[in-house]
C-alpha cells in the first residue's frame, strides 16, 4: 500500500499488505495472518525443491542488480562447509525507503523470509545487517527475532524440524558503501567497509571466508509469498508480455510529487499511470522536469521518456535507465538540475570508501567542478572534463560506486546540457583568476 497514504486501487499489495496494520508486528498477529507456515513447510522440504520453486517464479533480486534469486540460491551446494546468509538491510540508496517500511510494519515477514532463505542455501545462520540510522526498524526486527526464539521458531530445533536456524541482527554504523554486498561482509566481520575484489564470489568465499548468499530484504519477503502461493501465481501478478520480470515490486516515490510513499505494483505497470495517477503527479501547479526511476545511481529520465515506459527490469532499461532499487526521485520544474546533480555527486564523494583511485579522485573532482559550475565559475571546457572523468570512473573500479556517481552526471549533461551552459559566463575559457593577483595591473 501507499503508506503513509491510503492504498491505491491499482496497487497489488503482497509484501506491503500489512503496512499500517500494527497488529501484524507481533508474533501472534503475524501467525494469525498465516505467518511462519511457509517456514514450517520449507523446513520439511529439500532445499533444492525450495530453490526450484523460486527459480520457476522468476523472482529477481530486489536490491538493484536483479539477479535471479533461485539461481543465486542454487550456487550453494551441500558441501559440508559452514554457509551463511546475509540479509542486506543497509538500504541507503537515495530515494529508496521500502525495506524500512517492511521492517517497521512486518518485521516477522523479514525474519521468516530470512529463515526460509537460510534453509534454502544450507545455512544455519543468517545475519540481518541493518543500517545504523534505522533505529526503529532495528528495534522492531530485534523484537521479532526475540519473539521467534522464545516461541521455538528459531534456534537449535527450529519449529520442531530438528534443524538449527539462527537469525541475528547486526547494526551498521553509517556508510552507504556497506550496502555493497562485499563491503557489507567486511563490515559484518568488524572491518572497514571496503568492497572486495571478485572473484572469489561470495558463494565460494564470502562472510568469514565461507560460502555466503546476500539477499535484499524485499527479495526474501517476496520468496515467502512465492512459496505460499506457487510460482504460477507469482507470475500472474505481472504483465504476461514480459516473462523476464515477474511478480510485484515495491517502489518508493519521493521528491517533488503529490503523494510520496511506497507503492507495490505488478511488474510491467505503466510508468505514466504510476507517476500521474497512483502517485498523484507533480505538486499542484507544477510539472515534472526529471525522474530518476531506480535510486540515485541510475540514469536520469525526462518525463517524456517516462510516459511510454513500463516499470520492470527490461522496460525501464528500454527507456534509457534502470529499475535499480525502485527508488523513484521526482524533480519538478522549479528545480535547478545543475545544483541537484552537484548534490548527488557530493553524496558519492562523501560515501566513496576511497580504495580505488578512479573513485576517490573522480567523485571529488566531479563534485568540485559541478559546484563551481553551479556557482557561475565554470567554463565550457569543464563540461568536457566532466565527461572525461566520468569515462575514467566507469567500469574501472572494484565496486560500482564510482560508476554510480558518473551515471547521473553523464545523463544529466546529455539531457539538461542547456542548464549547465546557461550557468557558464560567456567567453570564459579558463578558471577565473582571483582578483587580488590582477589588482596591480
Amino acid at each position: 500500500m501507499g503508506y503513509p497514504h491510503l492504498s491505491h486501487g491499482r496497487e497489488t499489495p503482497v509484501i506491503s499488505k500489512y503496512f499500517g496494520d500494527a497488529e501484524a508486528r507481533t508474533l501472534a498477529g503475524w501467525q494469525a495472518r498465516g505467518g511462519y507456515e511457509v517456514l514450517r513447510q520449507a523446513l520439511a522440504t529439500d532445499p533444492v525443491d525450495v530453490q526450484n520453486v523460486v527459480k520457476d517464479s522468476g523472482l529477481r533480486g530486489r536490491g538493484g542488480a536483479g539477479f535471479p534469486t533461485g539461481v543465486k540460491w542454487s550456487f550453494m551446494k551441500p558441501d559440508g562447509k559452514t554457509h551463511y546468509l546475509c540479509i542486506n538491510a543497509d538500504e541507503s540508496e537515495p530515494g529508496t525507503f521500502k525495506d524500512r517500511e517492511i521492517m517497521r510494519w512486518t518485521p516477522h515477514q523479514l525474519v521468516e523470509g530470512a529463515a526460509v532463505a537460510a534453509h534454502a542455501i544450507y545455512a544455519e545462520t543468517a545475519y540481518i545487517y541493518i543500517r545504523g540510522e534505522y533505529t526503529e526498524p532495528i528495534a522492531r526486527v530485534r523484537e521479532a527475532v526475540r519473539e521467534a526464539y522464545a516461541a521455538g521458531i528459531l534456534g537449535a530445533n527450529a519449529m520442531g524440524s530438528g534443524k538449527r536456524v539462527d537469525v541475528h541482527v547486526h547494526k551498521g554504523a553509517g556508510a552507504y558503501i556497506c550496502g555493497e554486498e562485499t563491503a557489507l561482509m567486511n563490515s559484518l566481520e568488524g572491518r572497514r567497509g571496503n568492497p572486495r575484489i571478485k572473484p572469489p564470489f561470495p558463494a565460494v568465499a564470502g562472510l568469514f571466508a565461507q560460502p555466503t548468499t546476500i539477499n535484499n530484504v524485499e527479495t526474501v519477503c517476496a520468496a515467502i509469498h512465492v512459496l505460499r502461493n506457487g510460482a504460477d501465481w507469482y507470475k500472474s501478478l505481472s504483465s504476461p508480455s514480459n516473462p523476464k520480470s515477474t511478480g510485484t515490486k515495491l517502489f518508493s516515490v519521493c521528491g517533488n510529487v503529490a503523494r510520496p510513499g511506497n507503492y507495490e505494483v505488478g511488474m510491467g505497470f505503466s510508468m505514466k499511470e504510476f507517476l500521474w495517477d497512483v502517485c498523484g503527479g507533480p505538486p499542484p501547479g507544477r510539472s515534472f522536469k526529471a525522474i530518476i526511476p531506480g535510486g540515485s545511481s541510475v540514469p536520469i529520465l525526462t518525463p517524456e521518456e517516462c510516459e511510454g515506459a513500463v516499470m520492470d527490469y527490461e522496460g525501464i532499461q528500454a527507456a534509457g535507465s534502470l529499475l535499480g532499487s525502485g527508488g523513484v526521485i521526482c524533480f519538478d520544474d522549479t528545480q535547478d538540475m545543475v545544483r541537484q546533480i552537484a548534490r548527488l555527486a557530493r553524496f558519492y564523494a562523501h560515501e566513496s570508501c576511497a580504495q580505488c583511485t578512479q573513485c576517490r579522485e573522480g567523485t571529488a573532482w566531479t563534485t568540485k567542478i559541478l559546484e563551481r559550475i553551479r556557482d557561475g565559475q565554470g567554463t565550457m571546457k569543464d563540461l568536457d572534463t566532466l565527461l572525461e572523468i566520468a569515462d575514467n570512473m566507469t567500469g574501472k573500479t572494484i565496486c560500482v560506486l564510482s560508476d554510480s556517481c558518473a551515471t547521473p552526471v553523464v545523463s544529466g549533461l546529455k539531457k539538461f546540457r542547456h542548464e549547465f551552459e546557461a550557468k557558464i559566463p560567456k567567453n570564459r575559457s579558463s578558471v577565473m583568476v582571483p582578483s587580488f593577483t590582477t589588482a596591480a595591473a
Binding site: 533505529t135 554504523a173 553509517g174 567497509g193 524533480f331 548527488l344
Partner: protein, 174 residues
C-alpha cells in the same frame, strides 16, 4: 584526532576512563561473541555499546574495545574512522542530523538545516551550542526520502520536518 581529547567531565580521557565492559555489559558482550565465529565481528556492536554508555567513542574507550576483542588500538581506530555514526568527540545532548541528500534537498532540506542552526543557536554545522544542548550536522540519506525532511534527534527519527516546524521541535527538547 588528539590523544589528549578532553572527556565531558573535563578530565583527560585516558585518566577518566572507567571500563565499560564490566558487569551486565560484559555479559552482553559475551553473549554477543557466541553469535560470530571471530571476536573481530563484535567490533561494531562493541563500539555501539561504548558510545551508548559514554556518549562518544574516546581514545581510551577504543583502547578498551581493542583489549577485550584482542585487536590493536590502531586497528580499532582505523575501523571507527570509517563509519560516520561513531562520535570521535563529545556532542551536544541532542545530536541533530538533518538529511540534505537530493530527494530531501529538492523538498527544501537546506532551509531546514538553517532553521535548526538558528533555533539551536549552534550557528555552524558540527559545532555544539554554548549551552552544550545541541549539535547539528547534515547527514547523507537517512532512508526516509518519502517523508522529507527527515531529521534524527539522537535515536528518534522525526518525519516531514519543515522550516515552520523546527521552532516547536527544538522548543520541545529539554
Amino acid at each position: 584526532m588528539s590523544l589528549h581529547a578532553i572527556a565531558p567531565d573535563g578530565q583527560d580521557a585516558h585518566e577518566a576512563h572507567a571500563p565499560v565492559f564490566v558487569g551486565a555489559r560484559r555479559t552482553e558482550l559475551d553473549e554477543l561473541l557466541t553469535r560470530y565465529p571471530t571476536k573481530m565481528a563484535a567490533l561494531l556492536p562493541a563500539l555501539w555499546m561504548l558510545q551508548e554508555d559514554r556518549g562518544w567513542v574516546s581514545p581510551a574507550g577504543m583502547n578498551e574495545v581493542a583489549s577485550v576483542l584482542e585487536l590493536t588500538p590502531a586497528y580499532v581506530q582505523g575501523v571507527v574512522t570509517f563509519y560516520t555514526m561513531y562520535h570521535l568527540h563529545p556532542v551536544g545532548k541532542h545530536f541533530v542530523q538533518v538529511c540534505t541528500t537530493t530527494p530531501c534537498n529538492v523538498c527544501g532540506a537546506e532551509d531546514v538545516v538553517n532553521a535548526f542552526l538558528r533555533e539551536t543557536k549552534c550557528g555552524e554545522l558540527g559545532v555544539t551550542s554554548a549551552d552544550g544542548r545541541f549539535t547539528v550536522v547534515e547527514v547523507e540519506c537517512l532512508g526516509a526520502c518519502g517523508f522529507a525532511t527527515p531529521v534524527m534527534v539522537n535515536d528518534a527519527l522525526v518525519e516531514c520536518v519543515s522550516v515552520d516546524s523546527v521552532q516547536d521541535l527544538v522548543a520541545g527538547l529539554d
